[in-house]
């Protein structure tokens, strides 16, 4: 009976260790952090040994590690600030020196300290898994900066974000199929559209027995029927523009005069007050040939005051 219990506890502890190991190996970044921390711990321990300690409580070592980490972090942060302050992106030695001085450290003592005889050399931590930049976004080779771009400027983004990558299937080149397709597509669109219009609006029917058979959109009289019948539809205008633009040229030439006449009509009041009576309003821009003297373009006169008898 104890067996299952021990097994049970064993399994429990196993799960506990697994969870612990799980904690250590969860993410690469965390892993990295832990590795550093361990290195620092080694450093602290060696310094302690150097200072003559034989043993230390784990808690004390932890505290010291914490302190040194904070100190180094602060040096780094501060140095970065200094370098950024001078508009650089990478801290230099002087940045670090200034930082250290700022933090009240006597820098002069550093070289001698570094060269002390009893120092212990610690091997670099075996960085097994380097910090993994999330790889998902990197695609293709990043372009290097051309010579005229200062290197401090940010790198090019990944090529896929700006390079057009044409992806196409082999086009259907068979003329007949194309025409067939265009025709049936248009017909389907038209049919669907007219059906829709017929369904949503009033209809007329050719058959009495089945009024839905060939629904005709009901004829609706309009108040100005000639406009719709004479003016080209937008669709037609569009195709005209697409097919030909050269013909428009001579049309635009003539456009100035009438547009002026319209404004002339409308703004006759104002102009009248400014211009001497009977004066011809420059209906056409001076650059455009001679002034057109047409009675319909002349301004409207004000009534004569001495009309009353």
């Amino acid at each position: 009976m104890a067996d299952p219990a021990s097994v049970g506890s064993g399994s429990l502890s196993a799960s506990g260790t697994r969870s612990g190991s799980g904690k250590t190996t969860t993410s690469p970044a965390e892993n990295y952090y832990l590795a550093r921390r361990r290195t620092l711990q080694v450093v602290v321990s060696s310094l302690l040994t150097e200072c003559g300690f034989e043993s230390a409580e784990k808690a004390a070592v932890e505290s010291l590690t914490e302190m040194i980490q904070s100190y180094i972090s602060e040096v780094g942060r501060s140095a970065k600030s200094y370098c950024e302050h001078t508009a650089r992106s990478t801290p230099t030695l002087s940045d670090v020196v200034v930082t250290l001085i700022e933090m009240g450290f006597n820098v002069d003592t550093l070289p001698t300290y570094a060269k002390r005889s009893q120092r212990m050399v610690i091997t670099a931590p075996p960085v097994t898994n380097s910090p993994v930049v999330p790889k998902a976004l990197a695609a293709g080779q990043k372009r290097v900066h051309p010579p005229y771009i200062p290197s401090h400027l940010p790198d090019f983004p990944d090529p896929h974000t700006y390079i057009k990558t044409p992806t196409f299937r082999e086009p259907v080149s068979d003329y007949q199929v194309l025409r067939e397709k265009a025709a049936s597509q248009r017909r389907d669109v038209e049919r669907a559209l007219t059906r829709f219009m017929a369904k949503t609006g009033e209809t007329q029917s050719l058959f009495k027995d089945d009024i839905t058979a060939f629904p005709l959109i009901a004829a609706r009289p309009s108040s100005i029927p000639y406009l719709n019948a004479l003016l080209p539809s937008e669709l037609e205008l569009q195709t005209l523009e697409e097919t030909d633009s050269s013909e428009q040229d001579d049309q635009t030439d003539n456009e100035n005069a009438p547009s002026n006449t319209v404004t002339d009509e409308a703004g006759a009041d104002k102009e009248n007050s400014v211009l001497p009576p009977g004066g011809v309003v420059p209906a056409v821009k001076p650059s455009e040939e001679t002034v057109i003297d047409n009675p319909y373009l002349r301004p409207v006169k004000k009534p004569k005051v001495r009309r009353k008898k």
Binding site: Y175, Q176, T194, Q204, A229, P295
Partner: protein, 1184 residues
């Protein structure tokens, strides 16, 4: 008292002179001011005044007759003195109480008399102004009289047309506009004037309109001035060139203005939003100007020109002095192919009429042909220059065929009717059911044919005297006129601006030295065309062509021709012209041939134009050297030629003759020869790029006919299919048409036509072959216009027409009802296409809605052939006002057709209602003319539709319902003629019965107690009473409000004067006047009238007698009211007495009365109860 009597005498004498010598004017207008100071679009009313400056040309001018219709006249002043006037328009109601007559002969003569009674050409008019006696003396000295007339128009039914769209916004935003219109001289409908083409005067025109509007009128726009409140503008026009009143027009609207970029004195106007179209359409006008000025070597006579494009136009083109009014539907964008030549033709027509018609006017109605002829002729020259000789010759042939067909059908068009002696007995055109004495009695179709013949005759004259001389004559006429036009008024100078037949002929003989008398006699003074039958035989021994030319001059519409005729013979050695003399009895002509038949020698054959061609001569007769023969190839006779020659000759003619007319003749002849050789000739022509496209189009239809005749032996694919495939389909996939590219217009027209012709093919079962139908459906399916710079609306419309053509009658099993289920599968496909097209039109309308028009036609055809149930409701909805006019006309055509096929009285009624009520004059006219062409029944056939009510309705329509529009009235007359013929409609009770009825009515008139009985006999009587009531109401309502003590020489008196004259003047129309008015009786209008009625039916004299009492009843009726007001007038039933009375009173206390009357005039009176207003407003047509 004695004085007064004398006055009456003078007055009557004057009447006599003016009536008897119709053509002598006793006055001359020299200047006229027209001022319209208010145009109300909301109420559709117009207020204004006119002032005529008149030179009396006789001493003692005491009566001035002016033309005025439907104007309400408030006051008339002559040299600042109030003048009494009467206003009488006999054409308002042509036949008064003779409702039982109902025969067209009677109506026609009455109508002619009515029109004649107010004919301004003869110095008559509706408005008769009595010159105040103070001015008589002045008149003696021939001083100027100024006649000032204040008038208004309220909802005019003719003359001016208001278009006021029913939408939000002010009038300018709504695009509301108004314009003048009319058929011939119709200016009197909108202002009082001397409405004659021969009365010229200078003009000053003033129009005050809303500040957002533009008023376009004749002459030079001198200035535009704001009114004091700055809300309106006054347009001041001056027309210094003497112009006849009918050539004056007006258009007011919120027009967009376009100054012609090439000619700054030319201004174009269109309705809002259409400016881009206007720019494109007008970009061409200057070329027409240049052309005319060049050939006439004469500058455009006016200092400016204006074109106005209006909606709901009466006709497509109407020309007035220095301006033209066009239908807005002529405007088009650069994408439209088919409309472009049509519009350019219209512009050219308008411009040619500016020279001849507006600037040069006519002396009298019988000279109209000269003006129409010259303007049509120079228009033809323009066509030749712009569209090419082929187009010109094709057009001449078309016009010739038209006139020939019309004359043979109706019996002749007379260009220059001579009314010698003024006796209607020798009516020059007894075959017609209308009189050609006045333009206003002509049927519209006749008038169109008249114009057609006129220009053809001008062309004949050109053939005789050469074009150079012709143009010299025109130049001479124009330069004389322009010299005259710059003169100040002199009595005879201005007459140079009037053209008469004799003047024209004189000018021709002066310039050319040639005598064209026989030609004029043949074609101008005489009606009818020549009908030739030709055949030939080749005499081998003599090497002579024996040609036989026979004439038919006995059937109606024909005349005998004697004189030269040209015959062209194409032989192997070349083409030879021969001029033969057609003489009384010579039928046979021997023409020596130049070549022996030696076709073995391979030699090129010279053609008429000098070209030498290789021909395959294997088809021809080995013995004869003749290739083909043509009679009158230059169309220098107004003729129809039926010529017999062998099929191979026609084929050679088609292939090798270069004249399009010859080719077209050959094509129509080949229809009778359905052989493989004909097929080949036609196919070759079809393929030949150099061949004129209209010939090729015609060949398509001929080929279809031949193919149908050759059905059993036809080999290969259906006619034209492979050709079409080769020309218009893709090389790689022949079943798919190329994407549209209409840059080559000739192939465009061919591409449009071929499917339409192919759809006419039929197989053994008399069905359209499945292959053809599928082919057309494929064309529709694969139609792709995306790459085209032109619109394909006409092409698609023609494809629908092709579908329509492919329809054949449904196999109808035991009259079952047509349902969706038993729809033929082919028809289902067609119907689907039509449904889709018609629905797409609602979303993306095509230019001029051509596709809707074709769809409506197709649906009617489906109905007619029994594929779908026959039902007019769809068409009726499309025929409503508010659809584009082309759509309406197409829909109405379908309704008209339905009415005939289904004999539906309901639809006929609906159509006739529309004739009476539709706002668009063109549509009204169109309905009647379509009904006339496709009548529900004819005089020859029995029909349930033919009943008394219909007769009454139509009679009323032409008698009084259409008095505002000459054209419409003539249409109504035509329709009546088509339905019932000249005599009394057969559905009415027998004439004897009518006679009894008339008798009763007579009694009823004499004794009012019998009245109801008379009315009870038939609906007719009742109707008449209503009509009478309509006339009398205004009269009875009018003077009762007057005070009793007001005396004679007042406006009030003038009213009495008027009533009296109304009676008097009505009589000529109402038949016999017995006794009471001897003066008018002898006016030359009565006797023939009686004769005519006598001729038409023996019973008519009686109704004529009855008229008298009825007229007197009329008089009595209103006099009864006078009794209330004027006890003094008690005894004045006889008008002579009335005159006496009036003058007597006038002499009594003239001055005092005048004072008083003026005061009162200034008050409400002038605007309330003018007799003219009463009469014009509540004309019988309106009172119902």
């Amino acid at each position: 008292m004695g004085d007064a009597n004398m006055c009456v005498c003078v007055f009557i004498c004057l009447c006599v002179t003016s009536m008897q010598n119709n053509n002598i004017f006793n006055l001359c207008t020299t200047h006229q001011v027209v001022c319209i100071n208010n145009i109300n679009f909301q109420r559709k009313s117009v207020i204004g005044y006119v002032e005529l400056t008149i030179f009396p040309t006789v001493v003692n001018l005491n009566r001035i007759k002016l033309s005025s219709k439907q104007c309400r006249i408030y006051r008339v002043r002559v040299n600042d003195l109030e003048a009494p006037f009467i206003y009488n328009d006999p054409t308002l109601e042509v036949c008064h109480h003779e409702s039982k007559q109902r025969n067209l002969n009677y109506f026609s003569s009455a109508y002619t008399a009515a029109v004649g009674a107010v004919d301004p050409d003869a110095g008559n008019g509706e408005l008769c102004i009595k010159v105040p006696s103070e001015l008589w003396k002045q008149g003696d000295e021939m001083k100027v009289l100024k006649v000032y007339i204040e008038f208004s128009l309220d909802q005019p039914k003719g003359g001016l047309h208001f278009v006021v769209p029913d939408i939000e916004g002010n009038m300018a935003e709504r695009g509301a506009h108004v314009f003048s219109f009319g058929y011939q001289n119709s200016t009197r409908f909108w202002f009082p004037c001397v409405d004659s083409y021969s009365e010229l005067c200078t003009w000053k025109l003033e129009f005050t309109v809303d500040a957002s509007m533009v008023a376009v009128s004749c002459g030079d726009l001198v200035e535009t001035v704001y009114t004091h409140d700055m809300r309106k503008k006054t347009f001041h026009y001056v027309l210094p060139i003497p112009t006849a009143a009918p050539n004056i027009s007006l258009a007011v609207g919120p027009f967009e203005i376009l100054v012609d970029p090439y000619m700054h004195e030319v201004t174009h106007f269109c309705l809002p939003q259409l400016l881009p179209l206007l720019k494109h359409t007008m970009s061409y006008l200057h070329e027409i100007f240049e052309f005319y000025e060049e050939i006439l070597t004469c500058r455009y006579p006016y200092s400016c020109f204006k074109t106005v494009f209006v909606d709901e136009a009466y006709v497509q083109v109407s020309s007035y002095a220095s301006m033209s009014i066009f239908s807005t539907n002529l405007l088009h964008s650069a994408m439209i192919i088919d409309q472009t030549p049509v519009t350019r033709r219209c512009l050219a027509q308008a411009l040619s009429q500016q020279f001849f018609g507006c600037f040069i006017s006519r002396m009298s109605w019988s000279d109209e042909w000269v003006l129409k002829g010259i303007s049509g002729y120079i228009y033809g020259l323009y066509l030749k220059k712009t569209f090419g000789v082929n187009e010109y010759r094709h057009w001449i042939k078309e016009e010739l065929d038209k006139i020939v067909e019309y004359e043979l059908k109706t019996g002749g068009v007379l260009l220059h009717p001579a009314f010698c002696g003024g006796k209607e007995k020798d009516n020059p055109t007894p075959h017609l059911h209308f009189s050609i004495k006045h333009p206003h009695t002509l049927s519209w179709e006749y008038y169109k044919m008249f114009q057609c013949k006129a220009h053809l005759v001008m062309r004949l004259i050109e053939n005789r005297i050469s074009m150079e001389f012709m143009l010299q004559v025109f130049n001479k006429l124009l330069s004389l006129a322009s010299t005259a036009s710059s003169q100040k008024y002199q009595s005879h100078m201005w007459s140079q601006m009037l053209l008469s037949t004799s003047g024209f002929l004189k000018s021709i003989s002066n310039v050319s030295g040639k005598d064209i008398g026989p030609l004029i006699k043949q074609w101008v003074d005489q009606s009818g065309v020549v009908k030739f039958f030709g055949s030939f035989a080749f005499n081998r021994k003599r090497n002579v062509l024996e040609l036989e030319i026979r004439q038919d001059y006995t059937s109606s519409g024909t005349q005998k021709y004697v004189g030269p005729i040209k015959v062209t013979v194409q032989e192997l050695d070349g083409s030879f012209n021969h001029t033969l003399q057609i003489e009384e009895n010579s039928l046979k002509h021997d023409i020596p041939c130049h070549s022996k038949s030696r076709r073995n020698k391979k030699k090129k054959i010279p053609l008429m134009n000098g070209e030498e061609v290789d021909m395959d001569l294997s088809a021809m007769d080995a013995d004869s050297p003749l290739l083909w023969i043509r009679i009158d190839p230059d169309m220098s006779i107004l003729r129809k030629v039926e010529f017999e020659q062998a099929d191979f000759m026609w084929q050679y003619q088609l292939r090798y003759e270069r004249d399009v007319v010859a080719q077209e003749e050959a094509i129509s002849a080949l229809e009778k020869f359905p052989t493989p050789a004909s097929r080949l000739a036609l196919t070759d022509i079809l393929e030949q790029e150099q061949c004129f496209y209209k010939v090729r189009m015609q060949a398509c239809f001929c080929l279809a006919k031949i193919a149908n005749s050759m059905m059993s032996t036809w080999t290969g694919p259906p006619a034209m299919k492979s050709l079409f495939t080769r020309m218009f389909c893709c090389k790689s996939c022949p079943n798919i048409v190329k994407t549209n590219n209409f840059i080559n217009f000739q192939s465009y027209f061919l591409q449009k036509t071929m499917p339409v012709a192919m759809a006419l093919l039929r197989d053994m079962q008399n069905l359209c072959p499945k292959e053809v139908l599928n082919f057309i459906l494929d064309l529709i399916k694969y139609n792709d216009n995306r790459k085209n710079k032109f619109s394909d609306n006409y092409y698609r419309a023609e494809l629908i027409d092709a579908l329509t053509n492919s329809l054949t009658p449904a196999i109808n099993i035991s009259n079952e009802v047509r349902t969706v289920d038993n729809l033929n599968s082919d028809v289902r496909l067609i119907l689907e296409e039509i449904t889709r097209f018609l629905n797409m039109e609602k979303l993306l309308p095509s230019y001029r809605n051509t596709i809707t028009v074709s769809c409506l036609r197709a649906i009617r055809m489906l109905q007619k052939n029994g594929h779908i149930p026959s039902d007019p409701s769809l068409f009726k909805s499309y025929a409503q006002y508010g659809h584009f006019v082309d759509v309406r006309v197409a829909a109405l055509e379908a309704v008209v057709d339905y009415t005939r096929v289904d004999r539906s009285s309901e639809e006929l009624q609906w159509l006739l209602d529309m004739v009476q009520n539709d706002p668009s004059h063109y549509v009204r006219h169109k309905i009647l003319s379509m009904l006339g062409k496709n009548p529900p029944f004819t005089k020859a056939s029995e029909s349930s539709l033919c009943n008394e009510a219909l007769v009454d309705q139509l009679w009323k329509l032409m008698n009084s319902g259409t008095s505002h529009d000459w054209r419409l009235r003539c249409d109504a007359v035509n329709f009546y003629y088509t339905l019932f013929g000249l005599t009394r409609p057969s559905c009415l009770p027998l004439p004897e019965l009518g006679l009894v009825l008339n008798l009763k009515e007579k009694k009823a008139v004499l004794n009012p107690t019998i009245k109801p009985e008379a009315g009870g006999i038939g609906g007719v009587g009742a109707l008449d009473l209503c009509a009478n009531g309509g006339i009398h109401t205004p009269i009875s309502g009018f003077p009762s409000s007057e005070e009793e003590d007001i005396d004679m020489d007042t406006v009030h008196d003038s009213q009495a004067f008027i009533y009296h004259h109304l009676n008097m003047l009505e009589r000529p129309m109402s038949g016999h006047c017995v006794g009471s008015s001897p003066v008018l009786l002898t006016s030359g209008k009565e006797p023939p009238l009686v004769e005519q009625t006598l001729l038409s039916m023996p019973a008519t004299p009686l109704p004529a007698f009855i008229k008298e009492p009825s007229a007197s009843k009329h008089g009595e009726h209103h006099h009864r009211h006078h009794h209330h007001d004027h006890k003094k007038k008690k005894k004045k039933h006889k008008h002579k007495h009335k005159h006496k009375h009036k003058h007597e009173s006038k002499d009594k206390d003239k001055d005092k009365d005048r004072e008083r009357e003026r005061d009162r005039d200034r008050d409400a009176h002038a605007f309330t109860s003018s007799p003219a207003s009463g009469r014009s407003l509540r004309s019988p047509s309106l009172s119902d």
